[in-house]
């Protein structure tokens, strides 16, 4: 767990909670391997039956609640998790209610257990999902583009900005010829951090500061164009909000 945004009330302190059940003891690298299907660390076969929104469904042993739900046609909002990436559980947009549990769970980072009863659209779950999205949308440039994942989910849940004051917005960093950095759109989901460090292993993007000052940085908070960035664009492909975008020059004649 990293980067819990201080402004995200839906995020319970997760210390001591093992987000992945019995597999949680594995390292992030092992999880990466598991997702890449790299044999050695993938959970073994078998299935788990559990109840999702009143319907009994079957999950594969290596699936999270979110993955199993999606495969059975139930969509749950999610931003910091994307298929093919290690679940981080930090945005809290995918909160679901589990019978018998005191707090909501991040469905991207939780595996179902036999007999578990999960509600993705209960009042409590929806309230939490909406609140997370509202707080995120509120800080984003308005209105968030429907072509971003943030805009898509906000529209899906009918969430609009305006109730809260907006944070002070950083200025765009246009120092790199290929990639624009718009941290005003950043929700600190850390998909770019994982893309840069775990997928491409370029180790340029990092996560600096704490609480509401937390932000994405390149090397030692250098302008992107002066950092050791190699321009692979894995972060652009990973970003769900348009905080990292291909340069406009690519569209010019």
């Amino acid at each position: 767990m990293s980067g819990v945004d201080g402004a995200t009330p839906g995020a319970p302190a997760a210390a001591g909670v093992n987000p992945l059940g019995p597999q949680g003891a594995e390292t992030s690298v092992a999880l990466l391997e598991a997702r890449l299907g790299w044999g050695r660390h993938a959970p073994t076969g078998g299935t788990v039956r559990f109840t999702l929104n009143g319907r009994e469904i079957e999950a594969r042993a290596d699936e999270t609640i979110l993955q199993a739900a999606e495969r059975h046609g139930v969509s749950i909002p999610h931003l910091c998790y994307t298929e093919g990436m290690r679940p981080d559980g930090n945005c809290r947009a995918c909160m679901v209610e589990i019978d018998g549990e005191r707090v909501l769970a991040a469905s991207c980072a939780r595996r179902p257990t036999p007999g578990m009863v999960v509600h993705t659209g209960s009042e409590r779950a929806l309230h939490s999902q909406r609140m997370v999205l509202e707080l995120l949308v509120n800080d984003a440039p308005q209105p968030p583009s429907l072509e971003t994942e943030l805009g898509y989910w906000a529209a899906q849940l009918g969430v609009r900005a305006g109730r809260f004051p907006m944070r002070s917005q950083p200025v765009p960093d246009l120092s790199h010829p290929g990639i624009q950095v718009h941290l005003e759109s950043c929700i600190q989901c850390t998909r770019c951090v994982r893309a840069c460090r775990e997928v491409q292993v370029n180790d340029v993007i990092g996560y600096a500061n704490r609480g509401s000052s937390a932000k994405i940085v390149f090397d030692f908070d250098d302008p992107m164009g002066e950092s050791t960035c190699v321009g692979c664009g894995e972060c652009v492909q990973a970003c769900p909000t348009g905080a990292l975008l291909p340069s406009l020059s690519l569209l010019a004649g």
């Binding site: 690298v29 092992a30 990466l32 391997e33 890449l36 790299w38 044999g39 994307t82 093919g84 583009s145 072509e147 971003t148 994942e149 898509y152 010829p177 290929g178 997928v199 491409q200 292993v201 190699v230 321009g231 692979c232 664009g233 894995e234 652009v236 492909q237 970003c239 769900p240 348009g242 975008l245 291909p246 340069s247 406009l248 020059s249 690519l250 569209l251 010019a252 004649g253």
Partner: protein, 723 residues
């Protein structure tokens, strides 16, 4: 994932490939109107959704204002001048526009006249490792059946010809044994003469993933490159000392009994020859040559030898030497004596450069072999192809790239057809190569731009770019993948496949291929290892690995599992002795020149220097130098530096690079304003006929200070002899 596309919504998405390196990343092109607006990685077997800066941002070259849109014929009042390149923005300064009909007639007439007057041997063709398999196949067929010669080659000659020579000699197969993705099973990765984060960036990411999980990396290179930060052992050996280093590693492996006796006994022959040879190469003995501490060599050798799963990757740093074949022989011996081949996570992987250099070679774009590497001198094979193609074929091996240039200079070759290659930038000793091109009686160039090579053309045929065509491309892992057309060509431009056929028809061949699928079905007859790959399957699965001999075969990712394709099924050891480079430093030229590529620029820069983002990141020709040398020479970062070899001189900006060894300079060869290949040495490896791009003596000094006032010269680089 959801598309973020700024203001324009893509009308459609096209599943295709990246046009740059041999890794073979699958891409999705997001297209609006007739423009690519963004590129994303697809979940292909070689890239798993990943891309590098070139694949992601290097697509706008197709829209460059310098794109040729009309056939061009040389103006009679403008002579070919090797000292003068035509401005690619102003083609009409040397050419006039022509209709397609006139241009094609003139192009073919010129070639036909030479063939009829001097014989097919006076003609030659350079195909392209950037073209599709279908284009490569038709191009070599045109040269062999229409020109009547085997003088057909391409840039594989400048790239892995020596590796292939050694692999053919010892394993009778030039293919990689294991895919890059096998690094996930390897305990040790040995990377030598390769800078994968720059030249095969996406392959490098899989290596890095493996290293983070515990796989060990041994990195051997004269330059300390990016991967060094993840390496267990960095063997920064002196340029050209490859054989000494590798023999020393084998010496240790034999001395410490880390060999696989069972494998040597059952599957190889000739081990004793290598054992005898490497006896003289103890790490201590060769330390003065390699410059690597003996203890470090011993440790690396133990790591490689003791591991059950060791995988070797190499690049041009190994192959581009006059002893390139010897270098590769040593790597083969290393793998064979430790039994590290024929299983998952082991093997020999010469990292292929161009996106289709594997395929172009498979298709027979090589002067000594027909498709599938079958000798042109073998009567049985010749009879097969004479029947398949309905033509009489030349029984003699053809000339290779550099040999063709020499023959052109001597008027033995008089006419050439060059498709998508740029020898006026990529050949060694460019002054000579450009003179040779200018000497030709007739040169037809087919390309996107008025390249440096096209400056010497008589007819230029504007051709199709990668995203404008459909065809198959074979990556470094032997995966045949389908590239799909994403854009309509600019008006006035024609498909390469059509142009080859237009020339063929005018050379008297009755060709009528309906399209790439039609050509592919003939390829399946000519290349037995691809016979099982149907077009429909490629459309469905996007990628199929060969060997795939029968329809329905899954395709073998790992080869040599049971035996080698030699007569007795055994691989052989070929010993190699350390030899000097051809043009070693001396008092006049005291430093060593190493050439290579940059992450952002592809090859001669024809594409990437016209790609906005890529050229903005690396816009300036530069010379990378060690700070110690810079201090001694009184050169600061950004100062203009003159680099001269026995063949030429260029001026470029100095760049500090702590990874470049003292006594050497590194120059990328993509900058036309300071072409590194003006300096390089055309001396050839005797087996692979590959020139020595990676080693020659140079003199370096500030360009803005007269030579006599230069600061002290750096110490002379002097590798000693063993023993």
């Amino acid at each position: 994932m959801i598309l973020r596309t700024l203001n324009s919504t893509p009308a459609r998405q096209v599943e295709s490939l990246c046009p740059y390196c041999g890794v073979g990343c699958q891409t999705t092109y997001n297209v609006a109107g007739n423009r690519i607006i963004s590129v994303e990685g697809r979940n292909g077997p070689a890239n798993r959704g990943r891309l590098c800066v070139k694949g992601r941002f290097g697509f706008d070259y197709v829209h460059s204002s310098q794109r040729l849109r009309t056939p061009l014929i040389r103006r009679e009042d403008v002579a070919k001048d090797p000292e003068h390149l035509v401005d690619p923005s102003n083609p009409l300064s040397a050419f006039r526009e022509a209709s397609w009909e006139e241009a094609l007639d003139r192009a073919a007439d010129g070639l036909r006249r030479i063939r009829d007057e001097y014989g097919g041997g006076a003609l030659a063709g350079f195909g392209s490792a950037k073209g599709s398999n279908e284009e490569a196949y038709l191009f070599q067929k045109l040269v062999r059946t229409g020109f009547g010669t085997n003088n057909v080659d391409h840039c594989t000659r400048l790239c892995h010809a020596s590796s292939v020579a050694a692999l053919m000699e010892n394993l009778n197969s030039g293919a990689v044994s294991n895919p890059v993705s096998d690094v996930q099973y390897a305990d040790v990765i040995f990377v030598i003469g390769s800078n994968p984060t720059v030249n095969h960036p996406v392959a490098a990411t899989f290596m890095k993933n493996a290293i983070e999980r515990g796989t060990r990396l041994i990195l051997a290179d004269p330059r300390r490159t990016e991967m060094a930060r993840l390496a267990t052992h960095v063997l920064q050996f002196r340029p050209g000392a490859d054989v000494a280093l590798l023999n020393a590693m084998m010496h240790v492996i034999i001395e410490e009994d880390l060999i696989d006796r069972d494998f040597i006994e059952r599957r190889t022959r000739g081990f004793d020859d290598v054992r005898r040879t490497v006896k003289a190469y103890s790490p201590e003995t060769v330390e003065p040559i390699t410059g690597v501490p003996a203890a470090e060599v011993r440790a690396a050798a133990r790591l490689y030898g003791a591991s059950r799963q060791s995988m070797i990757f190499w690049g041009m740093g190994v192959s581009q030497h006059v002893h390139g074949t010897d270098n590769a022989r040593c790597l083969i011996s290393l793998a064979l004596m430790t039994g590290n081949i024929g299983r998952r996570g082991t093997g020999l992987h010469p990292l292929r450069g161009q996106n289709n250099v594997q395929g172009a070679s498979d298709m027979g774009l090589i002067p000594m072999v027909y498709p599938d590497y079958r000798s042109v001198e073998d009567p049985e094979t010749r009879a097969y192809f004479e029947q398949l193609w309905g033509a009489t074929l030349d029984p003699k091996k053809g000339l290779t790239v550099v040999e063709i240039m020499n023959a052109a200079k001597q008027k033995q070759i008089r006419g050439m057809y060059i498709m998508g290659e740029n020898p006026a930038m990529s050949d060694p000793d460019l002054r000579h190569a450009r003179e040779a091109l200018a000497t030709l009686d007739w040169l037809v160039v087919q390309d996107l731009f008025l390249t440096e090579t096209a400056s010497f053309a008589d007819v230029i045929l504007p051709a199709s770019a990668f995203p404008e065509k459909t065809g198959t491309f074979t990556n470094t892992d032997r995966r045949v993948q389908l590239g799909r057309k994403a854009l309509e060509m600019p008006v006035g431009v024609r498909q390469d496949l059509e142009l080859i056929q237009e020339i063929a028809r005018r050379m008297g061949l009755d060709w009528n291929y309906a399209g790439p699928a039609d050509v592919w079905s003939e390829i399946r007859k000519a290349v037995p290892s691809c016979a099982g790959i149907t077009w429909e399957r490629l459309e469905r699965e996007h990628a199929v690995t060969y060997p795939c001999r029968n329809e329905g075969d899954p395709g073998d990712e790992v080869i040599f599992t049971e035996s080698f394709p030699t007569r007795d099924g055994r691989a052989s050891f070929t010993p190699a002795e350390f030899t000097q480079g051809d043009d070693p430093p001396d008092d006049d030229y005291p430093m060593v020149l190493i050439t290579g590529r940059l992450l952002e620029h592809w090859h001669t820069g024809a594409m990437t220097r016209r790609a906005g983002v890529l050229d903005a990141i690396e816009p300036v020709a530069h010379v990378s130098m060690n700070p110690q040398d810079m201090e001694r020479l009184g050169v600061g970062p950004g100062d203009p530096v003159a680099v001269a070899s026995r063949r030429g001189k260029i001026v470029a900006q100095a760049r500090r690079d702590d990874g470049v060894p003292v006594g050497a300079v590194f120059i990328p060869f993509c900058y036309v304003e300071a072409p590194a290949n003006l300096l390089t040495n055309p001396a050839l490896d005797p087996f692979g006929k590959i020139p020595e791009f990676k080693f020659c003596g140079v003199r370096v000094g500030r360009a803005d200070v007269p030579e006599e006032r230069h600061a002290t010269r750096p110490e002379l680089y002097t590798p000693a002899h063993p023993g």
